[in-house]
């Protein structure tokens, strides 16, 4: 039984390690094998980019060698997939090789796509890649005061990022002693300041307390130097524009016509690609209407690993993915909270505390144990 994992990020790594442990007997006996194909020999802790953008982490703290995170029985190759032949059960790669499989799991992630909004890439600072986060920090350091607008595209990975970057910016400007010269203006696509109602109910008074202004039902249409225009017909002037751009899946997914916008139609409980029994998707690449977050990829990976192992052992899956998501929310002033929910149960976040902030800070380091599947 040949299992092929495409993507060595959060979802792919947890899935491959979990599966390697569950199938250790079959792998030793030569009855199963796990191969991972990825686009990089490094694994990035992406949430750390937020801290890089405000000068609180250095880029080199975000990386580990991918091989060091994987169980030794997993064959790992840096050889990005260029063609998915799902009907023939094989993929072709950049190096020209063909990899056959019995089961494939795709977890190639998503990417910020500022280029989809006219003028956005040229005029805004963003933090979704290492280079952009470092560049954003330079822009912040040069900024001496004025109006900072935060503009948010849909969909985006990490639903908490818009709020977190706003609170982190408030802290950053306070620490630099220029908070009284800054007007922080937050915008958000729907009619409240966050998609999760209880989070919005908590965040709005926090904005009021800090003097952060906000505008809801604001979807970016076009950006010009010094001015951003919304689909809803409003305009905002800015001195510094910070954006969470709309995301797409990877180009290879679109090129292979696996799903609009690079997001693959996925069964919400079994995680198979609609129409295929042996092809699965986890993480940001699914088209599921749930948060694009590391925790989503993590919980999906655990459920799917259990099902793939049980299918090999007893011929059938044993559980459904229940839609579970868990997100920390950095609330500024050394405090944090979290939201946990699934398809059936809405979140009920508690007031932010310093304790949760310290736990999140510790998690920034514990992430590597989580990727190895030890947490």
């Amino acid at each position: 039984m040949k299992i092929l994992v495409v993507g060595g990020g959060m979802g792919g790594t947890i899935l491959a390690n979990n599966l390697a442990r569950r199938l250790s007997g079959e792998i030793k006996a030569g009855k199963a094998s796990i191969t991972m194909l990825s686009a990089s020999d490094k694994h990035m802790y992406q949430p750390g980019l937020l801290y890089v953008a405000v000068g609180k982490m250095m880029p080199d703290e975000l990386y580990r060698d991918q091989v060091s995170l994987l169980e030794s029985c997993i064959t790992f190759r840096v050889d990005p997939v260029t063609k998915f032949n799902l009907k023939e059960n094989n993929v072709l790669t950049e190096s020209g090789k063909q990899y056959d499989y019995d089961i494939i799991v795709i977890s190639t992630g998503s990417r910020a796509h500022a280029e989809g909004t006219p003028g956005l890439a040229e005029n805004a600072s963003q933090f979704y890649t290492e280079a952009d986060a470092v560049k954003m920090f330079s822009s912040l350091q040069k900024f001496e005061g004025g109006k900072v607008v935060i503009a948010v595209g849909v969909p985006h990975k990490c639903p908490m990022a818009p709020l977190e970057i706003t609170f982190m910016l408030a802290d950053y400007f306070k620490e630099r002693g220029i908070w009284d010269k800054v007007q922080l203006h937050y915008t958000y696509p729907i009619g409240r300041v966050h998609s999760l109602e209880p989070v919005a109910k908590w965040a709005q008074p926090e904005f009021d307390r800090l003097g952060i202004t906000y505008e809801t039902l604001f979807n970016m249409k076009e950006v010009q130097p010094g001015k951003i225009i919304s689909e809803e017909g409003t305009e905002e002037d800015y001195d510094l524009l910070i954006t969470v751009p709309a995301h797409k899946g990877m180009q290879v997914i679109e090129d292979n016509e696996l799903g609009a916008g690079g997001f693959i139609p996925t069964n919400r409980t079994r995680l198979n690609i609609e129409g295929y029994e042996n092809a699965f998707v986890i993480g940001d690449t699914t088209n599921l209407p749930i948060s694009k977050a590391g925790s989503t990829a993590h919980f999906e990976a655990e459920a799917l690993a259990e099902n793939i192992a049980s299918t090999i052992k007893i011929g059938q899956p044993v559980r459904d993915y229940d839609g579970k998501v868990f997100c920390f929310i950095e609330a500024g002033e050394g405090r944090a909270t979290y939201a946990m929910f699934n398809y059936q149960n809405p979140p009920d976040p508690k007031a932010p505390t310093k304790g949760i902030h310290w736990f999140k800070t510790a998690y920034n380091k514990m992430y590597w144990a989580s990727a190895r599947g030890l947490l």
């Binding site: 989809g116 849909v154 969909p155 939201a339």
Partner: protein
């Protein structure tokens, strides 16, 4: 006109039905109809508010067994 596309946002809290619709509208062609399914009663008010503000068209809204079916058309 192309086929009506179903956006199944039942039993999801984040990003939620309206965010889901906004993302899908961006990918749709002018003239396309999208039918969003939602179990969140708030969507029945939020979605028409956004559609009217942006200038798309509300085609119909109905509720069946706790599921809202909201059909919208991309106009621009």
């Amino acid at each position: 006109m192309s086929e009506r596309k179903i956006v199944d946002a039942k039993n999801t809290f984040c990003p939620g039905p309206l965010m889901e619709l906004i993302g899908q509208m961006k990918m749709a062609e002018i003239g396309d109809e999208l039918e969003i399914l939602s179990t969140d009663q708030g969507s029945a008010a939020d979605i028409p508010e956004w559609i009217n503000k942006v200038g798309h068209e509300m085609v119909e809204t109905s509720e069946n067994d706790g599921v809202w079916h909201i059909v919208v058309k991309k106009i621009k």
